[in-house]
């Protein structure tokens, strides 16, 4: 399986040093790419592989005084794709578009929306999938169910209650993708039939999950070679044993990597700001923030604020600009709440960490759990989570 290494840092000596170990030929201090090879390389990974570039490689013609300079120009001018790893610092947005309330059911089938909302999902990130085809979903369904059945029969996963068989359903949720570069969302369901069930008995959904990409970073998505499909956000719900099996099947079939995705306190604050900003249109009923303080034993502080009062505080920190929300406004909002709290209890909440934010519209937890109760702002939330997943990917 061909693996790819991605360039993560441009003007970095470490890259240049690494290059010297790669397949470049060094002639008297000059570096030159050989005609038939081109390399994507990464500082972190030891993996190396070669992919053939087109024959009219521009690089072969470069000659410069020092190999360092030629390396730099090689990297800059080339049409080698690079991931935005070096742009990471720039990519964390300092302001976001104010979300507009939208009836998502106009774009997405309401039944499919119902599958996604009002359930708690556990988040993971996924690296790009190699040769994943949206047209092959039926065959994937068959393969995955065969895989699960065989793994279960091996006794690797011990479950109480014999299930006769698993049936897997891959389906596409059309309409969630925002840009042309976003791949369509894929929804996976695992159904099982209990022993002694009648033939006509409905099968029970024992596990569900979905892979999605909503408004993913355009530069990154465009830089991916065509065989790769990026669906960086995975949401799962169900027994851990099945999640592990699904992930290992994906890893084997599409040569990808999974990892846990948490929601850090900055993003929890963004979600709080998003939900409180919705209050004029939808009644959020309450705004609940939970901090954990590192005392012995650890102490949780749950602050539930009346929605109207919270909204007035939010409104007072907002500048007049209604199209964008800046991170300063979000920070000022949270700081306002913390200082009101301090005035009463003289406890610094910033000594602890924000662990959970919830309203009637949804809830999110630091450990990577999200629940979207209302479909109205689902695209904004998924966009934020897609961004988190892309940032966390080890590329």
């Amino acid at each position: 399986m061909i693996r790819r290494i991605y360039l993560t840092s441009m003007l970095n000596d470490a890259v240049i040093d690494y290059c010297s170990l790669s397949r470049f030929q060094l002639h008297h201090g000059k570096a030159r790419c050989s005609k038939s090879t081109s390399v994507f390389f990464s500082v972190m990974e030891e993996r190396s592989s070669i992919v053939k570039t087109p024959l009219n490689n521009v690089l072969a013609q470069r000659r410069s005084k020092s190999y360092r300079r030629s390396m730099r120009s090689c990297v800059e001018a080339t049409n080698l794709g690079y991931t935005s790893g070096h742009l990471t610092v720039l990519r964390i947005p300092r302001s976001r578009r104010t979300p507009k309330s939208r009836d998502i059911t106009k774009q997405v089938d309401p039944d499919q929306v119902a599958l996604l909302v009002r359930k708690e999902w556990e988040l993971s990130y996924v690296t790009p999938l190699y040769q994943f085809r949206h047209t092959q979903l039926k065959s994937y369904s068959k393969h995955l169910s065969a895989f699960i059945v065989s793994e279960k029969q091996q006794g690797l996963a011990i479950e109480v209650g014999q299930e006769l068989g698993f049936k897997v359903n891959f389906s596409v949720v059309l309409g969630l993708a925002e840009t042309d570069e976003d791949a369509e969302t894929v929804f996976i369901q695992i159904l099982s039939r209990q022993a002694f069930a009648a033939k006509d008995d409905a099968q029970k959904v024992v596990w569900s999950g979905w892979l999605t990409c909503v408004n993913g970073d355009l530069e990154f998505l465009r830089s991916l070679p065509s065989e790769f499909v990026s669906l960086p956000l995975l949401c799962t719900r169900g027994p851990e044993s099945l999640t592990v099996l699904v992930k290992s099947w994906f890893e084997k079939t599409f040569d990808c990597c999974f990892g846990p995705l948490g929601i850090n306190s900055a993003n929890l604050q963004w979600l709080a700001a998003l939900w409180i900003g919705c209050h004029p249109t939808i009644n959020i009923q309450y705004l609940k923030l939970v901090w954990t303080l590192p005392t012995l034993p650890p102490m949780d502080v749950k602050y539930t604020i009346h929605p109207q009062d919270a909204w007035e505080l939010w409104d007072s920190v907002r500048q007049d600009d209604t199209t964008d929300v800046s991170i300063e406004e979000v920070t000022r909002f949270i700081k306002g709440l913390q200082s009101h709290f301090f005035r009463h209890f003289r406890i610094e909440l910033s000594a602890g960490s924000l662990k959970q934010v919830s309203t009637a519209l949804g809830s999110s937890h630091h450990s990577g759990k999200i629940k979207i109760a209302s479909p109205t702002y689902i695209t904004t939330i998924l966009q934020l989570l897609t961004e988190c997943a892309l940032l966390k990917m080890p590329i």
């Binding site: 012995l296 102490m299 000022r332 306002g336 200082s339 209890f345």
Partner: protein, 328 residues
């Protein structure tokens, strides 16, 4: 043995952990030594339950006997469910001299007068506490023994602790207790928790408060590490112990503050002038809340002097507060 009696016994046996079962049954007066020897405590629990059921059926034991066993178990293991503290007010002249028999008679008479179908069991424990078990029915149904209320009261003290009470039963229980103890009324002490002894100690303020002198509590001091600003650390430690106590603290799980104060923040001019209160509810929770708060103060996460809002938990013996601009 009727179906409901069997169910009650089954549920009770299931509830009692296997290790405790033998001792509990030993304390129960209705099984002789021979009976106890006939039971095999090495069998799986469900097998033992079957034998026990058969044995009780043989002896013709009734609900009354089974509730005795339940009471024995609960008295030994009271930390199940939420206990709420209440305070009796307006003592009448003869309140301090109430005797046990008098109390028992009065309570039973009062409660049965208020509600016809009710099952009451009163027992005096070794530490002078009176335990009352009440199973509630109403005019048409027999008492429900699966959801009893337990009441603990020390005679000659104005404190009552209750668990398992619904809002429907509350006024009836209040009235019966008030009349039996010869007080004027009973009010909610706004103190609740899972640990009965902790609740009792907090409400009666019987646990060790710090006196003057060296403070034994403190994080372990490594002799090779010297603290900068040791006076500040000592000071914080002293304040923490003054506010919350020294040594082992009663185990409290939660403290709830309902805030109805105005918003005041110097950096936010817009909202500071607002007349309406900034409403919210703050809930502190931990496995041992008072320990966490004490550590919070001694480590500097909370600024000294300790705010009266937090020290009220121990000073006033309550853990539910409504805070307005006028004070607590």
């Amino acid at each position: 043995m009727g179906g409901s009696t069997k169910l009650l016994l089954q549920r009770l046996i299931r509830r009692i952990p296997y290790q405790m079962l033998q001792t509990m049954l030993g304390k129960w007066a209705h099984l002789s030594n021979a009976d106890l020897h006939s039971l095999n405590f090495t069998q799986p629990k469900w097998v033992l339950t079957e034998h026990l059921l058969a044995l009780c059926e043989e002896k013709g034991l009734t609900v009354k006997h089974i509730t005795e066993l339940e009471m024995i178990y609960i008295i030994e293991n009271p930390n199940q469910g939420m206990w709420h503290g209440f305070q009796l007010l307006d003592a009448e002249e003869d309140a301090p001299s109430i005797e046990l028999t008098q109390f028992k008679e009065q309570f039973k008479a009062n409660l049965t007068e208020l509600i016809s179908h009710v099952s009451i069991k009163i027992k005096k424990h070794t530490d002078e506490a009176i335990w009352i078990r009440v199973a509630w029915g109403d005019n048409f149904t027999k008492p429900n023994h699966l959801k009893p209320t337990y009441v603990v009261h020390h005679l000659q003290t104005p404190y009552v602790f209750v668990t398992g009470m619904t809002s429907k039963d509350k006024p009836l229980l209040n009235q019966a207790l008030v009349l039996a103890t010869r007080y004027g009324s009973m009010k909610d002490a706004h103190l609740s928790g899972r640990n009965l002894i902790a609740i009792r100690d907090l409400l009666t303020r019987q646990y060790q408060q710090v006196g003057l002198g060296p403070v034994p509590y403190g994080p372990y001091k490594n002799p090779n590490i010297e603290n900068e600003q040791p006076e500040n650390t000592e000071n914080r430690l002293q304040m923490a112990c003054e506010a919350f106590g020294d040594g082992t603290l009663p185990q409290l799980q939660k403290a709830v503050y309902k805030l109805e104060t105005k918003f005041r923040d110097n950096s936010n001019k817009t909202l500071t002038g607002r007349k309406e209160p900034f409403r919210g509810v703050v809930e502190f929770s931990s496995t041992n809340l008072l320990e966490s708060l004490r550590h919070c103060v001694s480590s500097g996460m909370a600024s000294t002097p300790v705010t009266p809002l937090l020290s009220s938990i121990t000073q006033k013996g309550r853990n539910y507060f409504v805070i307005t601009d006028k004070g607590v």
